[in-house]
Symmetry: C2
Subunit: 368 residues, 2 copies
Amino acid sequence: MTINTKDLQTSGASRTIISVDAMGGDRGPAAVVAGIGLSASKNPAIGFIVHGDAEVLKKLIKKRRLESVCEIRDCLGVVTMDAKPSQVLRNGKDTSMWSTIEAVRNGEATVAVSCGNTGALMAISMIRLRKLPGVNRPAIACLWPSLSKSGFNVMLDVGADIRADEQDLLQYAMMGASYARNGLGIARPRIGLLNVGTEEHKGRAELKAANDLIASHAEQAGIDYVGFVEGGDIPSDRVDVIVTDGFTGNIALKTGEGTANLISQQLRAAFKHSPLSRLAALLALTSLRRLSKRIDPRRVNGGVFLGLNGTVVKSHGSADETGIAAAIKLAFTLAEIGFSDKLAARVASSAASPQDAQEMGNLDGNQE
Amino acid sequence: MTINTKDLQTSGASRTIISVDAMGGDRGPAAVVAGIGLSASKNPAIGFIVHGDAEVLKKLIKKRRLESVCEIRDCLGVVTMDAKPSQVLRNGKDTSMWSTIEAVRNGEATVAVSCGNTGALMAISMIRLRKLPGVNRPAIACLWPSLSKSGFNVMLDVGADIRADEQDLLQYAMMGASYARNGLGIARPRIGLLNVGTEEHKGRAELKAANDLIASHAEQAGIDYVGFVEGGDIPSDRVDVIVTDGFTGNIALKTGEGTANLISQQLRAAFKHSPLSRLAALLALTSLRRLSKRIDPRRVNGGVFLGLNGTVVKSHGSADETGIAAAIKLAFTLAEIGFSDKLAARVASSAASPQDAQEMGNLDGNQE
């Protein structure tokens, strides 16, 4: 019934295999399979290992005629959104999330995608994939729509760990730079450290220490360190990579998404206000679609776990099929450019020469 | 040449006097006087004491024919944006900022407005106005456009202090509730504590402690405590008051503003894209203006310092005349409802009965 990984790889010549957790998202497996369908229709070069309740998945996959690109791994356990990471580590071996990471660990898939519980996903990833030598705290990096030439800025950590000392922040700067080079094609990324002001005396003690530390490593690492940046600079053209601790980064990310959602809602309401504004909306349809595509948080869905032996993409818990497809697209891009190995080399050389200079790949490319 | 405060008060029957720092903003005294002009044209019930270089101010005020509503206080010193608060406390007695606060301390004005250096303004306010008995850390509260019925949510602290322990956070909850009652007319404000997740085990230790503390005081204080909220909830209808430390709050505030600015820019660009979209923009002009008014951060310009003997409104450093006028409007509203006394009573009763239940006033009212 289900095909095995070998079939997947051979049938698609050189398919890139993505391991997908079908359970645990707010919208359940139907949305995940719909997202797989969307991806598959746009990019035939992806094969999927899909983890979850086989009974349910078989029906969903059949309905969308995805049998030839999907292999099902039956797992009965589901990590709930409110599960504690420590509990999941103890009792979560039968879950779809665990199985999803295991496929990357075994080398069956190149990248894992899950829209489940972030804390549990990071905990399982750390235990099963292990941290890269030299990395203290892995981080989650996200892409932020921006005025920069690439259209995106990288921000990290957005939620792997609520703490970060100056050494962690330095490492985030280096990992973020590698992501910007490989993912966005920026040869010499501009790095900023998030603070409540740009003056050097402001902020917490660890931020002042990190400010000095990153500055002293900038030349050697081939980055432009721009110093402290503020919340308003996150979507600006002043920086390519914004470095912060996971508590602050998570709040900023969700605040930005919340603001964008509020404005989108009100924009729609404004255009339904009168017959004249409805006519206007019709005339401006293309422009509005372009804008909405640009600011829609679903289109840049996917936080990437950095600092592990293997790549994991965390999709938004509430992602719909568009969001899931965006996360899969990101996973595919990272797999294609061999990001995991490049990042490992970069961390191993502990901020030496910029040897992971961009070779290819732009996350806003055509692959889907 | 310049009229004195007594004249100001008598000439306008019962004018409310606002003390305005004309220096120290990014755009200089011309923008501040322009903002005063805008306010004066909309609301004849305000008198102004304007602090700064008298030579410069005299010309600006004369040009706009504001002599009858403005008294000038000559001060040669200016607090720069990068000045350290400690330096300003030592050597800043001749500055326009110091003089602005002094007018509130002396009872000549009811509320002070400045768009200068936030840290210095808070330091001078704390030294000259002093903290309310029982308040450990004063906070800066801002209004956030939201889906709530009042159209705004209150968030605090957005930058008075980068630290806050559980007792501070409890006090912020009580002060924020008083602000929401008096400023927004919400009888029983819903209070949320900003965190990286809504589950009880998430976040830093002081947040877990504050969560318990605020919950245990909610009934007595006449508030609805909704528990942890996330960044995405800030502009939502789930809460009226968002409580956080000044570091996180400042980052969130500026991130929200940055996102709104980015989208506004792109919206304008979208409507200039083609002749058709320009026509559409023309047709949708009213709707777009309504939207832009709603999301324009300048229209809700003004952080209020809470926890002092006297009210101080901190305008955005980069505020233009629209922003300055919004800050003055906010100052006027707070002066009219006697907010300073009500807050003091609330803090004195240390979270007792909701005796400062709303009597009047809505910050989105008609006064300007």
